[in-house]
């Protein structure tokens, strides 16, 4: 009986558990206790997301009425193939980041702050899941802010290591808030035009009344607002610092989830709320989104190649990779959208692993710059191997998940006749070879730093971070051989979104 209650309310609990868990975690005085509790909560959240996943995989979309109020009066949670992918991803990454985080947090944050830190982290996870799960446009804003404010705080916690974390967090706060406010303006205009806030309902009303200037302005505001959160080129300036100065556990989590969730929101708005195929939307795809995406792919890859700080390198590469996803969704075809979604999923896997590996190296040897990674292949062989595999995945080498997403992206571009996009993908991949190759070369070909008696420094990495790292590394290989899970979901989602708009 009670188990049934649990299952039938999984949609609500997947958000509520980490939220309440976070509130409790902040009260637990001991660092270890708070961490264990957070881990339990994250595990519970992950299990709940699996319940949702299995529900969706069995072919039925789930909707959940908050407070039992029917939509559009109440807030409706709607779970389909699209967001269940995100929910699973976020909860899994939250769990892994926690698993990974303990030793790094010991080093990076004052001990008496740990409980509150973990509490904030859980709230951040909950916020991102909330954004993904809800079907109400204004509720999106609320949860976007839950996740954003907690993110600002978490990023700022890197200040013990480097004071630049403070300015990074502040800039993120300013731009993030502007983004959120633009989003609210957009939602307000939509409400003005339709009188409702439920996203499906908005699209229904829009389909009846057609678009007018209010709707078009709303569209622009929402795209820009979410663009800021996505770090869509050229609105990405906050991202490199925020990722590279935050505590490493937060870097791992943010890099693999935060922008993805905002991107999901953009997809939701572009395809569910505004039906694709309207002239102004197609125009924006062709003349704004796609060129921006391509520019990001190339310019930011070049920028990444010139970074000396490892995490900044990865952060710039993230902006470039977001370009891939945007490119996919701006094609406006089922294949393109699905490719973008697959890349969204795969990129989370590889970037999460990369940030983890760099973090472990930082833990052992204080690595910040690429030059400091020299000889890592000898001093920390497991970490270096993990980093290499994830790096290869980033390049898009076969036998790694990165290949799958690039492959589908290229195919989608070809089907669309976008030759220039193919060229851009190729150029960007080649640039990825350079910046990943630089790391690999330094790790394996340069001699490790020697101690006084000319012995190689060997470092024993703590076990938990390595476990978390290898879960992701294995996932990177696994999803090459069996990409049916993300692909199935992505294809279903793309078909629902685009097919639904056409009918």
């Amino acid at each position: 009986m009670s188990f049934e209650i649990l299952l039938s309310n999984a949609a609500a609990l997947v958000v509520v558990v980490p939220l309440l868990g976070g509130a409790i975690a902040m009260l637990l005085g001991s660092s270890r206790l708070a961490w264990s509790w957070s881990l339990i909560c994250a595990l519970a959240t992950f299990s709940l997301s699996l319940v949702l996943l299995s529900g969706v995989l069995s072919g039925e979309n789930i909707s959940y009425e908050m407070g039992a109020w029917v939509s559009p009066l109440g807030i409706l949670f709607e779970i389909d193939a699209l967001n269940v992918l995100l929910i699973t991803l976020v909860s899994a990454m939250g769990l892994l980041a926690l698993l990974y985080g303990l030793p790094t947090i010991d080093q990076e944050i004052d001990r008496h702050k740990h409980a509150m830190f973990f509490g904030t982290f859980l709230i951040c996870v909950a916020g991102l899941i909330g954004v993904s799960i809800t079907g109400d446009a204004f509720n999106v804003f609320v949860f976007l802010e839950v996740s954003s404010i907690s993110t600002y705080v978490l990023v700022a916690m890197g200040s013990k290591q480097n004071r630049q974390a403070l300015t990074a967090s502040f800039n993120y706060l300013i731009l993030g808030t502007i983004g959120a406010t633009f989003f609210v303006i957009g939602v307000g205009l939509l409400y003005m035009a339709t009188g409702t806030l439920n996203m499906v309902d908005i699209s229904r009303v829009l389909a009846e009344t057609g678009s007018d200037r209010v709707v078009r302005a709303a569209f622009a505001f929402i795209v820009i607002g979410l663009g800021l959160k996505i770090a869509m080129f050229p609105l990405h300036t906050w991202l490199p610092n925020a990722y590279s100065f935050s505590p490493s556990m937060i870097g791992v989590f943010l890099a693999s989830t935060a922008t993805k969730v905002a991107l999901y929101m953009l997809i939701r708005f572009l395809y569910t709320v505004f039906s694709a195929g309207q002239s102004f939307e197609t125009a924006m795809f062709d003349y704004v989104l796609a060129p921006m995406a391509v520019t990001a792919m190339i310019v930011c890859s070049v920028q990444a190649s010139f970074q000396s700080d490892v995490r900044r390198l990865l952060a710039y590469s993230s902006v470039a990779q977001i370009g891939y996803m945007l490119l996919g969704l701006s094609m406006g075809t089922v294949a393109g959208l699905a490719a973008g979604l697959i890349h969204l999923f795969n990129h989370a896997l590889m970037k999460g692993a990369l940030f983890m590996a760099v973090g472990i190296a930082g833990l052992g040897l204080g690595v910040v710059r690429i030059s400091e990674m020299r000889g890592l292949g000898k001093t920390m062989p497991l970490t270096a191997a993990g980093l290499t595999i994830a790096g290869l995945s980033l390049m898009g080498v076969p036998l790694t998940a990165g290949f799958i997403s690039k492959y589908y992206l290229v195919i989608a571009a070809l089907e669309n006749g976008w030759w220039w996009a193919v060229v851009a993908i190729v150029v960007s991949s080649v640039l990825a070879i350079f910046y990943v190759g630089r790391m690999i070369e330094v790790m394996y070909l340069q001699e490790p730093p020697k101690t006084a008696d000319d012995a190689v420094v060997t470092v024993r990495s703590p076990i938990l971070p390595l476990v978390a790292l290898y879960v992701l590394v294995i996932a990177n290989v696994w999803f090459f051989f069996d990409p049916s899970l993300p692909m199935g979901l992505a294809n279903t989602a793309a078909n629902e979104l685009i097919g639904g708009a056409g009918s």
């Binding site: 009066l73 807030i75 609320v142 802010e145 700022a156 009188g195």
Partner: protein, 361 residues
């Protein structure tokens, strides 16, 4: 049907308020003295609140006055005290660059206005669809006069839950960033940054003496007045809280007012004494407790076989009574969290103050 041009007194008031808002906004752009800017921001908020009243949004006006004009201004003043009074003038490149961006955004908005429904139009989509449904449904479903509270606490209760979590997060953030207990944070991470530049300029003698004088304990008149005022304020806070069903008000506004009573107490009697009365641990506990009460209500409804925050489950024989109970419970949660977080934010900032004397203002 009156055929006269529809200028009534409200339109005139609106116009005056809007032009005043505009003037204040532009002044903020032009000025560089942070103190004046922050004060003008308070004025702006109050003007906005006034306008909200004229637009029938009494709840919003109440909150805007308490939060925007009250708490925000106090926070900004506090932060300003800890930092500096003057802002540098903007450079021309920046000015034109920003003007361009702002211009584009403005054009987008003006572009939208051409198709906007007329001001005050009862038939606009916004006013005739879900909004209207709420008005009707509230009467039958929840049966409290203040529809805003009904929507806030019940129909869109999950939004409010998120909002309370946002407040908690902000509290957590300030505690994490500034430290809630000044002594610990001072011995902790503040040390490494060293004394700020302004400190160095201050003659050491002044520092010595100011250290002893905490708060305004030499102002006996203030103390007496405050002692009388604080219970009244708290009483008022409770009134606002419980009257939220009937008139403007609710957990939020009450929480803010409650916190301001404590802040007044600390201004008059000093931080140390306040800390003794309400220890930071308690504040920390309170901010989490509120969220737990709110979320707990939801969990209870789940356990009783309903959906999350489905108050009807609380008393299935009389759903309207159940709704009232639910709303009350979550409003308590809101009150506790908001009051505690406001206090913790205040503690966070106050913990950083170099002890201030009147002349420092």
């Amino acid at each position: 049907m009156e055929m006269s041009f529809p200028i009534d007194i409200f339109v005139i008031i609106d116009l005056i308020l809007i032009s005043m808002l505009l003037v204040v906004g532009i002044s903020i752009v032009r000025l560089n003295n942070l103190f004046v800017i922050v004060m003008l921001y308070g004025v702006y908020s109050l003007l906005a609140a006034t306008w909200f009243v004229s637009l029938d949004a009494v709840d919003v006006a109440f909150t805007e006055a308490a939060v925007g004009a009250g708490i925000s201004t106090v926070l900004m003043l506090g932060a300003m005290l800890l930092t500096s009074r003057e802002a540098k003038p903007t450079t021309p490149i920046r000015r034109w660059g920003s003007l361009l961006i702002v211009g584009v955004t403005g054009i987008a908005l003006i572009y939208a206005t051409f198709d906007m429904p007329a001001f005050g139009d009862p038939n606009s989509p916004a006013n005739s669809y879900v909004g209207l449904m709420y008005l009707k449904a509230t009467i039958t479903d929840i049966s409290i006069p203040n529809v805003v509270t009904a929507i806030l606490a019940s129909y869109r209760g999950f939004d409010t839950f998120g909002e309370v979590v946002v407040v908690l997060t902000a509290g957590l953030g300030v505690m994490l960033i500034l430290g809630i207990d000044s002594r610990r944070s001072r011995s902790g991470e503040v040390e490494d940054t060293g004394e700020s530049a302004e400190d160095a300029n201050e003659p050491p003698a002044v520092k010595e003496t100011t250290k002893q004088i905490d708060a305004l304990n030499h102002h006996i008149v203030l103390q007496v007045v405050a002692k009388m005022l604080i219970p009244i304020i708290i009483l008022y806070a409770l009134y606002v809280h419980f009257h939220g069903d009937y008139g403007p008000g609710g957990g939020f506004q009450a929480g803010v007012i409650f916190a301001s009573a404590i802040i007044l107490y600390s201004l008059i009697f000093g931080m140390d004494q306040t800390r003794r009365a309400i220890p930071p641990k308690l504040v920390q506990f309170g901010s989490a407790l509120g969220v737990l009460i709110y979320g707990g209500t939801g969990v209870i409804t789940i356990l009783m076989g309903g959906k999350f925050l489905d108050y009807n489950m609380l008393d299935q024989s009389d759903t309207i009574h159940a709704q009232h109970m639910g709303i009350l419970m979550i409003e308590v949660g809101v009150l506790v969290t908001v009051a505690s977080v406001m206090l913790s934010i205040y503690y966070g900032f106050a913990g950083r103050y170099r002890q201030l004397k009147d002349q420092n203002w």
